[in-house]
Amino acid sequence: MKIAKPSPPSDDKRWKIIDVKMRKLGYEPHALIEALHAVQDSFGFLDPKALKWVAKSLRVPPSRVYGVATFYNFFTLKPQGAHTCVVCLGTACYVKGAAAILEGIEQFAGIKPGETTPDKQISLLTARCIGACGIAPVVVYDGAPAGRLGADAAVERLKGFAHVS
């Protein structure tokens, strides 16, 4: 029995990349996490449209897709700001003052981890450990880790991201 392939939510070309990923894995249910990675890589977050489409394509219940998307810390259902700032809270960073760094950044940006500034410029996140313990404490700015930071230096770097006063 052949089931018609669901059409993507829009004609945005990025859906094709995700479809290729799912096709490679035979549209099997076990492709779910890989498919969600592909969605987040392409769009920055997982929106309900995408979740429904992935569910249909892999023929798994939407509840399971939502369950997986919310179980894993890496996936986010909210759009991220223009810039991301990830404070590593691994043990090595912790004993070297990561808590003070996080506090400084929270104060400066006026947001808590998991939140985005109202002007959509900065999203603040925390990480369990990015494995760069040798240069602890570490903050990852837009994907680029910066090490051996003090709280002041960490905030100073954030100021480089536009529109933040």
């Binding site: 996490i33 691994g90 494995g131 880790p145």
Partner: protein
């Protein structure tokens, strides 16, 4: 691929080598300090000085001394540079012809390096991890050829058993026994899974191995596949390690192109393929049944064992799950022999262990040391003591599942059983040094918060118990708790430890238990007199001064 072709590649690569090789560490730690620009600047300098026929600038994996990175080394001249910047490039190249480099010189004979015994990390910092030729030049994939052409699968299992290798993920289960269980299982399909979900905060051994020498892990998986009768492997890597993932993708592609992965390897009937699966940020996925659920595209929640994955694993088929470092030990064992391997380490813990030495210690980085070395030797000789000359108070091993070892027990040898005896575990290899300013109750709370947030929520002792323990620790730190709260905390530790479903919950109380065991005073100092107790010097008072 034939063995002749393999050695032809090795020969050709060797013949193409230049007289001088300038190695630049391009592992995640150094990459964050502009290692890419350093390599570009070095390349440019070599070109502008017309040294291209004599000097090669090579991208290499982790050299280990991450705390002093970025590192650049020129082995033939015995030179090592630390904290290099791109601006140092002209000096470094000039120094090859008698000039002086205006960079901090490192000492290749420093105890940090001299006391190490690289087995797993032998290629780290030597080869370009993105070139299979570099790996083949040093004998790569000959171990796979050797087992396929010279040994039967039971012989391979037997030699791993004889080597005495134990699982490097932390629990120390005998690897040979695991392999033989999967090998004996009867099924028309089996799987090999490499567990690269290195979730312990403060640990980056597996990241470094994957980034520096991805082929040794892939070859180890293929040998495991041959030994247990599996033709499909999965490499599960956490999403937080993008560089490791990209280097593995490159390595798998190159191995396929060279016919070192795929069907009918070395003209035999043995086929082996590897696929990468990327984690999505869940500590519990380091637990093997949760990891399998995640590979199957489900929430990473563990299930009771037995049945063990060796009997019923991925999609119900027998599955061998080994940690990255365990698999990285396979090629050296096959190449140099089980007897050689068994001669390293202690009676019950063979070989070496890679540790991520971090925290308040002078020399930060990755070290590989023989089992049986003492904690004191690691912290003082290799680590060089604390950064600021303060007293070292404790070393934490095993992350959220481990414990803190106090200074007075630093002569404990590092092996699975001795660490267990002092209330910690070998763990995956995180070793975080804490000095006299570290508040041990705060450390316990840090780990409890971690476990609380990472609890998958399936079983109640872990889901609810970690929250209760976290609240009690918060209360103690806020100086609002009494001795009764401490008693409740200890009861909870016992309950969560003995009734949780998987390793996460069963070990979550360990940081509390071990800090209570060795640093009870720090807890007691924070306690209030029991409410309703009108005599502050009454029945509970002595408890604040005794153990």
């Amino acid at each position: 691929m034939s063995p002749e072709e393999l050695s032809a590649i090795a020969e050709k690569t060797r013949a193409g080598r230049k007289q001088v090789c300038v190695r630049t560490c391009m592992s995640a730690g150094c990459m964050s300090s502009r290692a890419e620009d350093i390599k570009k600047a070095l390349d440019k300098e070599v070109a502008s000085r017309n040294l291209g026929d004599r000097v090669e600038v090579r991208r290499v994996g982790c050299m280990g001394f991450c705390g002093e990175g970025p590192m650049v080394s020129v082995k033939s001249e015995g030179l090592l540079y630390e904290q290099v910047t791109p601006e140092n490039a002209p000096g470094i190249i000039a120094a090859l012809d008698g000039g002086t480099a205006d960079v901090r010189r490192g000492d290749p004979e420093h105890p940090f390096f001299a006391r190490q015994l690289p087995v797993v990390r032998a290629n780290g910092g030597l080869i370009d991890p993105e070139k299979i030729e570099d790996y083949i030049e040093l004998g790569g994939y000959t171990a796979l050829h050797h087992v396929i052409s010279e040994s039967t699968p039971p012989q391979v299992v037997e030699s791993i058993t004889r080597a005495g290798l134990r699982g490097r993920g932390g629990a120390g289960f005998p690897t040979g026994l695991k392999w033989s269980t999967v090998a004996k299982a009867k099924a028309d399909r089996k799987y090999v899974v490499c567990n690269g979900d290195e979730g312990d905060p403060g640990a980056f051994m597996d990241r470094s191995v994957l980034e520096s020498d991805p082929h040794t892990v892939i070859e180890g998986m293929a040998i495991a596949g041959y030994a247990v009768g599996a033709s499909q492997g999965y490499l599960y890597v956490r999403a937080e390690y993008p560089l490791a993932i990209s280097r593995l993708q490159i390595a798998i592609r190159q191995a396929k192109q060279h016919g070192l992965l795929g069907d009918g390897l070395f003209d035999s009937t043995f086929s082996f393929n590897v696929e990468i699966r990327i984690g999505a940020g869940a500590f519990v996925c380091g637990e093997e049944t949760a990891l399998m659920a995640s590979i199957e595209g489900r929430r990473g929640q563990p299930r009771p064992r037995p049945p063990f994955p060796a009997e019923r694993g991925l999609w119900g088929y027998p599955t061998l799950i080994n940690n990255v470092e365990t698999l990285a030990n396979i090629v050296p064992i096959v190449t140099r022999g089980a007897e050689w391997y068994a001669s390293l380490g202690t009676e019950k813990s063979k070989g070496t262990k890679v540790f991520a030495l971090t925290g308040k210690v002078r020399n930060n980085g990755l070290i590989e040391v023989p089992m049986g070395i003492t904690i004191r030797q690691i912290v003082e000789d290799l680590g060089g003591g604390t950064t600021d000359g303060t007293r070292i108070k404790a070393v934490q091993t095993g992350g959220p599942s481990g414990g803190c070892i106090p200074e007075e027990l630093f002569d404990t040898p590092v092996d699975y059983d001795s660490l267990m005896k002092v209330g910690s575990i070998m763990g995956s290899g995180g070793m975080v040094v804490m000095n006299e300013h570290t508040n041990m109750v705060d450390v316990a709370k840090f780990y409890m918060e971690f476990c609380m947030e990472e609890s998958c929520g399936k079983c109640i002792p872990c889901r609810a118990g970690t929250v209760q323990m976290y609240n009690l620790l918060t209360k103690i730190l806020a100086r609002q708790a009494t001795l009764r709260d401490l008693e409740a905390l200890e009861e909870l530790c016992d309950m969560v430890k003995s009734t949780s479903l998987c390793g996460l919950g069963q070990t979550a109380p360990n940081p509390v238990i071990s800090t209570l065991r060795y640093f009870r005073d720090e807890y007691l100092e924070l306690l209030q007199p029991t409410s309703g107790d009108h005599q502050p010097n009454g029945e509970h008072a002595p408890a604040t001064t005794s153990h």
